[in-house]
Symmetry: D2
């Protein structure tokens, strides 16, 4: 389908404040960027670089006063996420070098602590895709999805105790469980068509059957309509904005996703 996304973020800045933004979608295997807008008001110098995960990041210093980020895009993405029950576990020795770092524990995914839990959840399931699917189902059944229930990232261990959370929390726990089984997993942030309530979204991908597959325990019927802004080990890597110095919060953050057509 073709989607039109937009994200507008407003800040009141009181002193010069460095920002690193991650709001420019990149074309890749899963999406094609047909149109894209990215405006900073007032106009100030911005530079862009590619981080370790291949994401485009924008650096700037916001000046005192109102500071407005307006982005929009038109994206061709799949109507359905790829599913492949039976896709096999990839032996460590056969993983591409670039995928290996997604096996390691990270700030919010303490995968070193989850082996017993993931073994129990996936007991009896075929190694690979089906294990990740079992983890995703477990998350759906055991964690309550409460959009807006927290602002700061929680780690997988915290989520596992709390038993409710936002999309990011589901992703962190899912990733930690996968990695504890030696299945590479990474967080993805972006947009999802028809998300309720509409907001930025986070989900995860697992590497099985020689490619990355999308998993999202917050959704029921595995719909399509995903738009990717960035990949990373966990939420620490994929903040849509990182701000330095005295904390500033957005006075407004408006996200929209509309369908332009169902063609792909």
């Amino acid at each position: 389908m073709r989607l039109r996304t937009s994200c507008n973020i407003k800040f009141e800045i009181s002193e010069p404040t460095p920002f690193i933004l991650m709001l420019r979608p990149r074309s890749g295997n899963q999406q094609w960027v047909e149109r894209e807008e990215y405006k900073i008001t007032p106009s100030i110098p911005v530079t862009e670089f590619t981080d370790n995960y291949g994401n485009l990041c924008q650096r700037l210093i916001a000046q005192p006063g109102q500071f407005l980020i307006s982005t929009s895009s038109e994206i061709v993405t799949s109507n359905f996420i790829d599913q492949d029950f039976g896709a096999s576990f990839v032996d460590i020795q056969n993983l591409p070098d670039a995928v290996l770092s997604y096996l390691l524990p990270s700030r919010y995914c303490e995968s070193d602590c989850f082996y017993e839990m993931s073994s129990s959840i996936t007991n009896g399931h075929l190694y690979g895709y089906n294990q990740v699917s079992a983890i995703t189902n477990w998350l759906r059944d055991n964690i309550s999805y409460l959009p807006g229930s927290n602002n700061q990232p929680l780690s997988a261990s915290q989520v596992n105790i709390r038993r409710f959370g936002v999309c990011r929390d589901f992703a962190h726990l899912g990733i930690a469980l996968c990695r504890s089984l030696s299945i590479p997993a990474r967080i993805v942030v972006g947009y999802l068509y028809d998300l309720e309530p509409m907001d930025m979204h986070a989900w995860f991908e697992a590497y099985v059957g020689d490619r990355w597959y999308t998993f999202d325990a917050t959704q029921i019927n595995s719909p399509g309509g995903y738009v990717i802004l960035g990949f990373g080990r966990d939420a620490a890597d994929v903040a849509i904005f990182n701000q330095f110095g005295p904390l500033v919060y957005p006075t407004e953050q408006l996200v929209k996703v509309e369908q332009i057509s169902s063609d792909t």
Copy 2:
């Protein structure tokens, strides 16, 4: 200034034909991409990757029939290119690692053959920016700028014999002369506001005084208004399209650059 660029290319394809395109501008130190469109008609799968030089490249297989690439962008770029007479030569040992490969000879820049010529041209000039400036002036005075005079890239040696050429030819000879003096130099392709006649353009950058500076021997008064699509060692690295299999030529290629405003 704010520029609106567009480039539309049409092909008649007779058999499935792999293409690698380089038509998506990236934001960087010298430009900010405010809006950008990239449409392939008919719609087919496209993937994108970043090459060794940091350029975004698009891969696809054009199918038989009409094949149309339509791109446009709105870019904030400088009204004037930075000039810095006196910017010093950077000793080899102080060059960043990533710059070193721009000292080596390449397909169309046989810098290993130009040391005597470049020494003579820059004789008496301060090492660094002024040497590159002397080279640029020499090109203006000694090579006739004849847009459209050739289609295939010529090497610096060929250009030096022929004494006339297109923008790319000027860049190749300029780069070869710089590198022969151990000044890193690279080709840039993109758009230039008010270029006569309007078309894709090529120029070069030289690394002096700890940064890259723009040089364009085809223009007289060092105007601004440059929009960058890609960097490379020479034209072999920065074709806006590379096509594989039996040769196909565009049946139409239309380039436009308009000024939206003079603000930066």
Copy 3:
């Protein structure tokens, strides 16, 4: 000085076990590798790749039976670590792109939780090197250095509660405190001449005054004699061996560091 290092690790393997090793020192700004040996017994296929942090990593599958890794090297390294009191804090906007990821929280360095503590520790100190020095002194004064006191990595928060630890624990807390002040910091693993008791070692580096500086709160007089094996965000990135599948522990791990000469 010139140092001769060696590290021999023995395992008894019961089933084919994938390993990723990080035991090959690289030459860089801080050390020159004059000689180096790396033997795997019995001989099996090994491949090598460079990870995101520039470390050389070795991949192999250990076969059942005895598995022995023998490495040694001769390294030229400094007699004293560079110290530069007064080296200034680098504003975020002036940090190189590649350094930015060392500002983010990571698995064992929850820098997002340490701002109050680090502000208090560094209160009254000049921004930059002196802040990091104050943090290092605070660690020396408040955390007891107990080599061998734990085997599994602890996070900075855990170390801060426990108040004793191994070299890695000091590094994690130091890094978390630095990052909370927007000072990039990274862990380093390797060897240290005259370490008591001799073993692999870990310390940290902070980026101030436009370069990385070495800090090691486990040592008193800032001696030299460091040999680097790897850099990373924290211990999760720089395990000298990562092993997958059922856990195997070394039956022997022998580390030696001798001085060959005091020349540099």
Copy 4:
């Protein structure tokens, strides 16, 4: 087999002279570095970086007087090069991103000029490995191998006219012919056991059947015993030393390769 290689190069330096060296072998899919030595006399600061092709490069400034580079290594490498007649041509769209740049023409491989010649040479051969094999045989039959016959790199076109040359010349022409058929090809420099007369060596690799294969038209029976120092597009990328400033020639360059054992 296990090989012991050594390369000693002596210079008389008259003024401070920047060098970039490429004399440290890396472990990879095709070889394992068991031992390695790299000494610079007199001892001076050296730094090391990884270039665009993954090679380890050493940077230094040689000081006036005698300057000596002594390297040696013990390498495990195959007794036979892999051959795979029938390995298929890889369609452009299926080539890994990182391989694409080896399709482009480069300084000494003007592949854009060789399509007719390569089509004629490979006429009737299966697409892929067999085409490269036909090219290699053609080189053996049509170019005379005259070690020592030139010092400066020649381009494929020059070699094709001259009809004799050194190992590097064979590689350049072989690479140009492969690329003109859309087969990625790259130069390799290093050592070859039993080479007559012993010296540094160059050969090429072509990407067919989803991996790189070794081809060496200067040798008859496809022996093994190759030790790799570097990869690149052509000789411009893989000089074992690049020296800047007034030219200095080695007063001595001694290369040795001995077999330690035939085990692998």
